[in-house]
C-alpha cells in the first residue's frame, strides 16, 4: 500500500492479489430497464434535478441547492387483456426532497416555479421514453418539496464562487471493466429498448428486467419483458413475440459474449394454462401494483452488481454541484475506466472515494484504488500511473457538473 498525502489529498493504491471477476466460478448481475418502476423513480428524480439545474443556471448563472433523490412510484391498477385493456387507476409519482425556492436578487425575493418545473420534467421524461404510457391520463405526478431557508441560499452562493464544499460524508464506488456477462446484460436491455427494435417488434414494452448468471462458461439470462396487450391479439402471438425476443437476443449474445454457452429465458413466470401472461396496457408493470423508489435500481455502471464493490447512494436526483453521493460515484467509475483503458496491464480496477463534509469536493478524506494486474512485477509503475490518473480526475471533478446537466453521463 502507498498512502500519498499530496496537497491534503490522500490516495491509496493497492494491488489486489485475487481472481478477476470474469474468471470467478459464478457471476451474477442484473439490469432494471427503462420502464421498470425503480428506473422510473430514478429517471423522475434525475429529470427533476436536471430541469431545476437548467432553470437555476439560466436565471442566476449558478445551480442552486437542491436534492430530489427520493421519488416514490406507487403502482396503479390496470386490466390488460389480449387485444386491449385499460388503466383503472393511474400510477402515482411523488417527488420528495428539497430545492431552493427563494433567491435574494438585489434585496428582493425571486420565487422559483419549483412545482411547474418538477411536474413538467417528469411528464416530459415519460413522454419521451414511453409510447403507450400517457403521463396526463395514466399518471398523477405530485411532489413534496421543502424549500431551503434563506441562509442556505447565501451559503450556497459563497461556495459557488470556488470549489464547492462536500454536502455530506459519504462515499463513491466504481470499477472497470465490465465482464462479458455484464456487457451482455446491459446490451440486451438497451437493444430491446432501442428505437430500431421497438420499430420492428413494437409489442415489447419498456419495462425490461434482465438477470444474468454465469457459471463457468455457461451464461443464463432471464429476461422479464412487459408486452403490450393491445398489440397482441392472442396467446399464439404472445408466444411468437417471446420466441422472437429470445432468438434475437441469442444473436446479440454471439457478438457480445462470444465463446460462452448462452441460454436465454423470457418471462419465465408465464403459465398459459392458468392464463398467466406478462401483459401490460402501457409497457410498465408500475401500471398494476409494482412500486418503485429512487436508488433501488442500477448503479452508475448501469447494473446491479452484488458480487462487486458497490455504493448504496442514489446518484439520481442529487444536485450535480456539491452532492458527493452523486459526483463521487460517477467519478469513481470514470477513474476506474480510465485506469483500465490507459494502463493495459491492469485487469480490473476498483475505486472508492470518501468525502468529508464541509471540505472542498476536490479533497476527499481518501481515494482508495485497488488494481488487479496480469503481472505483479509491474505493480510499481501501475501504482504511479493509477495515482496520477486519480489525481487528475479528482482535480477536474467540477467539470462533471456540466456533463451531468447535459445528460451526457450514465447515472443508472
Amino acid at each position: 500500500m502507498i498512502a500519498i498525502d499530496y496537497e491534503e489529498l490522500k490516495i491509496s493504491v493497492n494491488i489486489l492479489n485475487t481472481t478477476p471477476t470474469h474468471r470467478l466460478p459464478v457471476e451474477l448481475t442484473e439490469r432494471k430497464g427503462l420502464g421498470h418502476p425503480d428506473y422510473i423513480a430514478d429517471a423522475a428524480a434525475e429529470a427533476s434535478s436536471v430541469a431545476l439545474s437548467k432553470y437555476y443556471l439560466e436565471r442566476f448563472g449558478v445551480i442552486l441547492h437542491h436534492n430530489v433523490d427520493k421519488v416514490l412510484v406507487v403502482g396503479g391498477q390496470s386490466n390488460p387483456v389480449f387485444g386491449g385493456g385499460e388503466v383503472l387507476h393511474p400510477i402515482y409519482v411523488i417527488v420528495a426532497g428539497r430545492a431552493t425556492e427563494f433567491v435574494n436578487v438585489g434585496g428582493s425575493l425571486v420565487r422559483i416555479p419549483i412545482g411547474t418545473i418538477i411536474v413538467s420534467a417528469v411528464k416530459e421524461w415519460i413522454k419521451r421514453n414511453f409510447r403507450f404510457l400517457d403521463p396526463d391520463r395514466h399518471v398523477v405526478v405530485d411532489y413534496m418539496i421543502r424549500s431551503g431557508s434563506a441562509d442556505l441560499v447565501a451559503t450556497y452562493e459563497a461556495g459557488a464562487k470556488s470549489v464547492p464544499l462536500a454536502n455530506d460524508t459519504s462515499f463513491g464506488v466504481g470499477f472497470a471493466p465490465l465482464t462479458s456477462l455484464e456487457r451482455l446484460v446491459v446490451s440486451i436491455e438497451k437493444e430491446l429498448n432501442s428505437p430500431r427494435f421497438k420499430n420492428e417488434l413494437p409489442e415489447v414494452g419498456e419495462d425490461i428486467k434482465v438477470m444474468g448468471m454465469r457459471t463457468g462458461s455457461k451464461i443464463r439470462v432471464t429476461i422479464a419483458a412487459a408486452l403490450i396487450s393491445h398489440l397482441i391479439p392472442d396467446p399464439d402471438h404472445y408466444i411468437s413475440v417471446k420466441e422472437e425476443i429470445k432468438n434475437r437476443m441469442l444473436d446479440l449474445a454471439v457478438k457480445i459474449a462470444p465463446g460462452f454457452d448462452v441460454e436465454i429465458d423470457v418471462n419465465t413466470a408465464d403459465n398459459p394454462k392458468l392464463g398467466a401472461f406478462y401483459l401490460t396496457v402501457t409497457g410498465t408493470s408500475a401500471e398494476h401494483g409494482d412500486d418503485g423508489a429512487t436508488g433501488r435500481g442500477n448503479r452508475a455502471c448501469g447494473l446491479i452488481t452484488p458480487m462487486r464493490r458497490m455504493s448504496l447512494e442514489a446518484t439520481a436526483g442529487k444536485n450535480p454541484v456539491s452532492h458527493v453521493g452523486k459526483l463521487y460515484n460517477v467519478l469513481a467509475y470514470r477513474i476506474a475506466e480510465k485506469i483500465v483503458k490507459e494502463i493495459p496491464k491492469v485487469q480490473e480496477a476498483y475505486v472508492e472515494l470518501l468525502s468529508q463534509i464541509g471540505k472542498p469536493i476536490t479533497k476527499p478524506q481518501i481515494a482508495s484504488i485497488s488494481l488487479l494486474l496480469e503481472n505483479p512485477a509491474e505493480a510499481e509503475s501501475a501504482r504511479r500511473y493509477a495515482e496520477a490518473i486519480a489525481r487528475e480526475e479528482i482535480s477536474k471533478i467540477t467539470s462533471l457538473t456540466d456533463l451531468i446537466v447535459k445528460e451526457q453521463v450514465q447515472l443508472f
Copy 2:
C-alpha cells in the same frame, strides 16, 4: 469450483485466493442508526409487515400475501433552539405496497383492516423507539396500499400448504465475519442508542450515523449525532455532550477494536461561529427536511459495506414467506456466519443465492459460496463442510419466517 446438483439444488463452492477484508489497506463502512430517516423508512416498512403477518396468522393461520417495502419518509420542518424549539411541519410517512385485503372464508369475503393495522404499527414503532418524537403530533402516517386480486389469495393458499414458491427472480448476498472496523461501527451506534446510555446522556438523539474508515491500523470514525435541543441550554453544554460522546466511544473502541489507533470525530459539520450546531427537537433529522426511503440504509448485517459483496434488495417490508428478496438475504448471512463459526480454517465466507420465480424457495437457481482459507491445503474438506451447511440451512429456510415475525432476526 465444484458445482453440485443435489436434488436440483446447485451449490457452487469456490476458494478465493485473495486478501481478507481486515487486511486490505483501506476499509470503509457505515451504519445509519435508529433515528436516521432511511432507518425509519425501513422500520416502518418492517413494522407494517410484521403487524400484517401477525394479523393474518391470528385470523387465518397463514401469512397472506403482502409486500410493503416502499416507504417514503418526507422530512418535516422544525425550529430547534438551545433550550427549546418546536416542530413546524410534521414528518410525512407514506407506506406504499400491496397487501391482501379480502379473504374468501367459506364463500363470504372477510375484509382485513389494512389501514388501521399499518397506521398503528408505524406509530407504535415510533412510540417504542423515540423519546421526543410524538407520532400523533409530529408525524402524519399515511399509506397507499393496493389490495391483491381475489386470484392472488387463492394462489397463495395453494402455495401455503407446501414450500412457498419464489415470488421473483432476485438474489441474496451475505458474508461473515465482520471486521474489527465493522464491529466497532455497529457497536458505537447500538451503544449510543442503548437505554442505559440514553439514561446517562439523554441529550443524545436517536438519529446517529456512523461512518468508519480504516487505513492500515488507523481507524477514523465520524459520528453524526442529532442532539436534543430542549435538553441543551447553550453551546457550552452542547460541546460538553460532544466531548462526552467522543470519550465514551473511545473507551468502547479500546474493547471492540484493540490494537488500532482510533480517532473519533463527532458532528464535524458544526460551526459555532456561524451558529451551526446539529440540534433537533425530536431526535431525528427527518424533522427538518431530511427524507428517507426503504432499502437505502443498512443491509441485513446492520451495515452498508461498499467494499463487500452486497445486495440492493430491501429486506424490510417484504413478506417473510415467499419473498426471496428478504429471505435469501437473511439466509445468505446466516450461512456465511455458520460457515465461519463451524469451520475454523475459514477466514471469510461469501454467499450468494439466486432464486427462480415460481420455483420452491428451497430450490434456488444457484447457491454460490466463496471461502478464504488460512491454509489452501484444507480446501477440499472446507468445501464439503460449507456445502453441507448451505444445504441444511437452505432446507430449513421456512423456519426463518417465524423468527422474522417474532422480530428475532436483524434485517437492517
Copy 3:
C-alpha cells in the same frame, strides 16, 4: 292551504301574501363564474359524474351508483407580473366520493377504470373551458374514491328496473322567475365568459365573480375579474381593460335591466399605488391560494340568493338517477319556472320537495308550493293549475337523468 294526497303524493299549495322580491327595498345576489375556485370544484365534480354515467351506460346500459360531490380545489402559487409571470406551484384538485368499481357480469367481476375516467374528465373540462390554464402543467388532479360494496351493485340493479328509490332524506328548493337584478348578474358573467367577448377582450380571465345589490331602483354591481398578466403589458393597459369591461357591462345593463340606475365597479380592491392589481397567469385566482369546494357556489338557478329560499345541497357530482339532493333541486326550479310561465297571474313561485329515503323518487314526503299572485281572487284556479304542473313534473322526474348526462341542465 290545500294538502292533496294523490296516490301517496302530498302536494301543498299555499298563497303567499307578501311583497315580490323585485319590489323589496333591498335585494342581494351573487354569481361565482366559470373560473372561480368554487365553480371549478362544482364543475370537476359534475364532469366526473357525467363521465362515470356515460361509461356505465355504454357498458352496462344503466348508470351505476356513484356520488362524487366533494371536490376540494387547493389553490396553487403563482407569480403574475405585467407582461408575463408563471405558475410556481400547481393547483391541487381532489375528487372525493364513491363510485361502483366492480360489476358482476354473469358471475365474473368487471372492473371500471374509475381513476382514468375521473382524471381525464376533470382535465378535459379544464381544457375546454380555460385558455391559459394547462391541466397537465398547472394542475395536479387526484382523487380519493371508495368503491361501493358488491351488495350495493346488486341493490342498484334491482332499483334500476323501476323508479329509483331515494338515496337520502333531503330537500330540493327552487323558485321563479329571476328578478332584473338576478338576470343582470347572471348575464354579466355569461357575457364576460362568452367566446365572442373573449375574442374581443382576451385579457379578461375566466374567474369572474359578480355581486349585485339593488336598493330601490338603484343597482350596484361589483365585478371581480381576474385579468391575464401576459396579455397586459402595464398598468395603463390594465386600467383600460377595466374601463372597457365597465362600459360594455353598462351597455348590457341597459338591455337586461332597463329603468334601473346601474353602477358598475370592477376590481375594487385594486390599489395602483401599492402595486395591487388583480392579475393572474392562468385566469383563475385558484392559481394563488384561493381554495374551492363543491357546493359552495351557485345554486341550480346559477346564483347565490341569500334573500330567497335556497337548498344547501350541492347538485354537482351526485348521481343523476337516485340522488334527490341533485334531482329535487333541479326539479324544484323546473316546476317553479313552468308555473310562472304557464300561469300568468303568478308573480313568483317557490317550490320545496322533501324526499323519504328508500321510497320511489316520484313519491316525495311533500311537495310544497308557494305562490305570489297579482290578484288574490284567482287563488283557487292558480292552486289547481300549479298542483297539476307539479304532479306532472314529478311523475316525469326520471327524464331529468338523461338531460343531466347530456349536460342540458344548468346545475350551478
Copy 4:
C-alpha cells in the same frame, strides 16, 4: 323603506307584510349533528382557526391572517357488526387554506408551527367530542396550507391597529326567532349528544342528523342516529335503543313544541330482513364512505333553513378579525335576535349585511333589516328601534372576535 346614511353607514329597515314562518302551511328544517361528516369538517376548520388565533395572540398580541375554511373529510371504510367490528381504513381529514407562517419580528423571521398547531387542534377536537373515534388510529389528519406572503403580514399589522378592513365582498344573513319546529330539531340533536344522555344510552353515536317537517300543526321528525356496534349485541337490542330514542324525544317534544302533533321516526332506512341497520364502530358515518366538507352543514343558527333567508358562506375556519363571511353572519343573527328580544311587537326579523372589500368592517355597503310586525301601526317606532340596535351592534363588531376565539359563539 327608509335608507339612512348615518356616518356612511347605510341601514335599510323594511316592514314585511307576510305570514310569519311558524304560520306557513309547510315548514322544513334540518340539523346535522356533532358527528356528521359535514359537522366534523366545520369543526375541524374552526378548531384550526381558534388554535391559530390563540397562538398568534399569545406570541404577537394580534391574530394574524389565516383562512382555513376548506376542510375535506374523506370517509374511511369500516366493518361494524353486532357486538364488535373494526375500522378498516381510516377517515382522511385535509385542512386546506392559508395561514401566516412567517412573522417579521424586529428584522428576523419567526416561523409559526402551522402544521403542529392544525394537526393537534383537529385531533384534540375529536378526542373531546367522540368516545369511540380515536384520532390517532382511525383518522389521518393532513393539511395543505399555503403561507401568506411577507407583504400580507405587514398589511395585516397595519390594519390591526384600528378597525380591520373587510377582506372580501360578501354577505351575512340572519334571522330570529326560531320557530317551534326549529327549536325542536336543534334540541333533539343537542339532547342526543348531551353527556347526560350519552351516559344513560351510550349506544347512541355522535353522528345524528335531524330532519324536521311541519305541515299545519303536525310535525314529523326524522332522526338518523349512528348506533355503536360493539355496545349492541343483537338486532333486538338495536330495536330497543331506537324505541328508547323515539320515546325520549317524544317526551322532549312535549316540552319544546307543546300543542303540536309530533311524530318521530328513527333510522327509517333500516331493513332488518335484509340485515340493514345503521351501525358504526366509531359513532360517525364518516368511518364508512360518507364524506364531508366545510360549509355544507348548519348555518350560524345551528340549522339548515331552506325556507328562510340564508348565507352560503361557511363561518367555520375563517379568521375572526377581518373575514366578513364569518363576522357578518354571526352579527346578522345577533342583530335579529336582539331586535326580537327587545322589540316585543316584532314577530320576525331578517338581517342582511353586505361588506365592501377594503373598507372598515364597521362600514358595510348596506345593512338591510326586514321586520314582521303584529301591528303595522307600530312600524315607525319599530324601525327606529331596530335601526338603533343594528347601528350599535355593528359598531361593536370587533368584540365578536374575542368571543369567537373563546368559543362562546355558535357558528354551525
